[in-house]
Amino acid sequence: MVELFFGYLAGAVVVLSLLVVFSRNAVHSVLWMLLMFLHMAGLYLLLNAEFLAATQVIVYAGAILVLFLFVIMLLNITEEMRLEQFTVGWPMGVSVSLGVLIAMLAALSGFRTDLKGPWSIEAVERTTHTKALGKVLYTEYMLPFEIASLVLLVAIVGAVYLAKKRLR
């Protein structure tokens, strides 16, 4: 049953990813991407990561993709659709990506799961996923968490600075 779910979600993710890449229209790409994110969130649920699934939907689908859409519409790139969508050097891109894929797949067998951590599925379920994540995040990863907020601040300032019209 779970395998069936996984099969569906995984197949959808792959197909949607390809659609994202091969769409001529950027708006379509973004919309395929939205669907892909939702399926990805489903996969997270399969892995008992409810909080992450929620974040995925809220942040990615709700925030990032909306930003993308805004920009596409702001720029109003209509001629793009008539032109060649891939660069001249696409065979190189294909071969390099395939090479990396094969290398990665070949490396996968090296992963081991025998070094178990303290958060078994039961432990997570006992404390609930959100709380467990919060415990780790706000204790052990407190400093990175704060730095992440700084990163976001810098991104905001940078984005505003870059995108605003030059004041003469």
Partner: protein, 100 residues
């Protein structure tokens, strides 16, 4: 029970698709989307590993990746806007300002 490797396979494939998109698409915005794809490929692998190794640190990392992805998208899109304003193109192969 789904084996770990299935997830890793999936992550790798999504990553590779993203990479392919990044390396071949002319449209800068779709290149940025492809980066998001690659990040998602990594994310799913991390979450899967976290699940199977019973350790939440993988998910913490995913959390940070999402933060960085958000920041990256903001900056990247701002750059796209600035670029489009200056060069009037969103085609990456027409931008060679980094030539040595």
């Amino acid at each position: 029970m789904v084996p770990l490797h299935w997830y890793l396979w999936l992550g790798s494939v999504v990553f590779a698709i993203g990479m392919f998109g990044f390396l071949t698409k002319r449209n800068v915005i779709i290149m940025l989307l492809s980066i998001e794809l690659m990040l998602n490929g990594v994310n799913i692998s991390l979450v899967a590993l976290s699940h199977y190794m019973q350790d939440l640190r993988g998910q913490i990392l995913v959390f940070f990746i999402i933060v960085v992805a958000a920041a990256e998208a903001a900056i990247g899109l701002a750059i796209v806007i600035a670029l489009f304003r200056n060069k009037a193109t969103a085609h990456v192969d027409e931008i060679t300002g980094m030539k040595g």
